[in-house]
């Protein structure tokens, strides 16, 4: 029995080096703290390719994707009805990341094959999951495009082709700019090594984005003790109103 286990163990060890190339990576920070004066953040992602075999002829490429927490969104379109523009058709998108950045060492069309993109959901349109649109909306694709367009304008979705610096087929690094209007959660960071468009190795980690200090306190209070929070808001409002009035009276008298 012991022998069998040992044999299995040996086999597993032997099978590991079959993956000729592996990713080793690091982050400049694996935690982003949202403080009161948070103004966006830049994350440096770097790493190396660990290989046991000599370099192959075909060059390696690197694709890095950072995705914020996904949430369902509704995309609405305005139409002209009786002379005024009103929200008409709406498409619900089941899961759209609140933030998404994909960086690569070359043009994505060359670096990544469509089938691989589909499997790993790497590019922005693939990262958005939209199951079905209502039957009366024929052009649901346009709604997804609009979502991408609006969020790209807000720098929430970024396609950074060629932004990954890849040296000697071994060392790579890139930086991702996180905008100021970030939501909380685990930001999945994935690194793919591709050769000829096929993914040959991948690595995944997460960057935690959290509110801290006063931001954390206010947020938690507003969710868990809404009545206390509401009364506190009112108390501050009343005090501020009275304070300003009293202050100005003093100012005039002096």
């Amino acid at each position: 029995m012991m022998r069998v286990i040992l044999a299995l163990f040996a086999l597993m060890l032997a099978s590991a080096p079959l993956r000729a190339e592996e990713v080793v990576m690091g982050l400049s920070q694996n935690r982003v703290s949202i403080t009161a004066n948070f103004d966006g953040s830049e994350i440096l992602i770097f790493g190396a390719v660990k290989r046991e075999k000599p370099l192959m002829a075909d060059p390696l490429e690197v694709v890095i994707a950072v995705a914020g927490p996904s949430e369902p969104v509704t995309v609405r379109r305005k139409d002209r009805r009786a002379g005024i523009w009103v929200n008409n058709a709406a498409v619900e998108i089941d899961a759209a990341p609140s933030f998404y950045a994909v960086a690569s060492s070359g043009p994505l069309a060359q670096v990544l094959r469509d089938t691989e993109d589909l499997r790993h959901k790497i590019t922005i349109p693939r990262a958005i999951r939209s199951v079905g649109a209502p039957a009366e909306v024929g052009d649901s694709q346009k709604f997804t495009e609009a979502l991408i367009r609006i969020r790209e304008k807000a720098a929430l979705y970024q396609t950074l082709e060629g932004a990954v610096e890849f040296r000697e087929q071994t060392l790579f690094n890139t930086s991702i700019a996180l905008p100021a209007n970030l939501t909380e959660g685990a930001y999945a960071t994935r690194i793919f090594l591709t050769r000829g468009g096929e993914v040959v190795a991948q690595y995944e980690t997460a960057i935690e984005v959290d509110k801290v200090g006063l931001e954390r306190f206010l947020y938690t209070l507003s969710r868990e003790q809404p009545l206390v929070y509401g009364l506190m808001s009112l108390a501050i409002a009343i005090f501020a109103g009275w304070g300003a009035s009293a202050g100005f009276t003093l100012l005039r008298q002096s």
Binding site: N37, K78, W85, R149, N181, E215, G230, S233, A244, S245
Partner: protein
């Protein structure tokens, strides 16, 4: 200086918010309007999510209204009795309004209805006030600088029963019209998400015949309670009151309200009314244009809450 708002989850310039609060505060003190009809669209414009903007500026309005009311109380230009009667009608109206709002929400298109409400009421109120004030100014000019004779209206307001004396306003009228005015404003303010000052002020001047100087303080008095009620409602049901945003807005707001009250007391009543009328018309025009012109981006994103 950028500041990250914990509930709105956006980062904005703190001085921009202080300035915005201050501007709204000045208007609030001058005209007795909460300023909601102005600050809500401005907050949308700088990127605050609409739900957070509507809820938070209610908090700010409480602060600037209190600041304004205290300034008016010192000058004895608040009719507390009239304010209480209006408020009684207003709270009943607000309850009714929330009911109507939820009914419209179930039908969809509540956003459009709110906008149409804005255009209709701002347009009518603004135009009426503008032409009336213009006439008043012409009349006082024609009389060679002598103030226009006090209008002694004798309309339906003066023949109803349950008469009550409102000493500060110098009125002896039935309580039914103020109650109805309060009720109507309460309904509208719940639907439109504003304090309702811009409807209340003209209603008090033209329907109840109150003197303009008293109207401002009395309107502010009433707005404190309606907005306070709204704040609590938003905080407990939608979790959309952003305290950091509110504090920044209200610091600017309370200071602005004090300055505005001072300016308002130095101006002539007709000038005050014509300025308010022009501002109401500008906002109305802006909203109407948004509805009529083709928007640059036809699509909009709504994050599904609670899913």
């Amino acid at each position: 200086m950028q500041i990250y708002l914990p509930i709105a989850e956006v980062s904005v310039n703190a001085f921009l918010l202080l300035g915005l609060g201050g501007l709204v505060g000045v208007l609030s003190g001058m005209f007795g309007v909460g300023g909601g009809f102005l600050s809500t669209p401005l907050l949308f414009f700088i990127g605050i999510p609409p739900a957070v903007a509507v809820a938070t500026q209610a908090t700010q309005i409480v602060a600037s209204s209190i600041s304004g009311v205290l300034a008016h109380l010192r000058r004895k230009t608040v009719d507390l009795r009239m304010g209480t009667v209006l408020l009684a009608g207003g709270l009943v109206g607000a309850g009714l309004g929330v009911f109507v709002f939820n009914y419209l929400k179930s039908l969809g298109q509540v956003d459009l209805l709110v906008r149409l409400c804005y255009v209709l009421f701002l347009g009518v109120v603004g135009a009426l006030m503008f032409f009336e004030s213009l006439r008043a100014i012409r009349r006082s000019r024609a009389a060679g600088g002598v103030p226009a004779p006090k209008r002694r209206q004798r309309n339906w307001v003066h023949v109803l029963p349950f008469k009550m004396r409102f000493r500060t306003s110098g009125l002896y009228i039935s309580v039914i019209p103020p109650l109805l005015v309060g009720l109507a404003v309460g309904v509208l303010s719940a639907i439109m998400g504003v304090g309702g000052g811009f409807i209340m002020v003209p209603a008090m001047i033209y329907i109840l015949g109150m003197p303009t100087k008293v109207v401002v303080g009395t309107s502010l008095f009433q707005i404190i309670f309606v907005s306070g009620f709204t704040t609590l409602l938003h905080a407990t049901t939608n979790f959309t009151v952003d305290l950091a945003l509110a504090v920044l807005l209200l610091i600017g707001g309370v200071i602005g309200a004090q300055i505005g009250t001072g300016i308002g007391l130095r101006m002539k009543a007709e000038q005050l009314r014509i300025l308010l009328a022009m501002m109401v018309l500008v906002v109305c025009g802006k909203i109407a244009l948004d509805l009529l012109l083709q928007p640059g981006e036809l699509y909009s994103i709504d994050i599904v809450v609670g899913a």
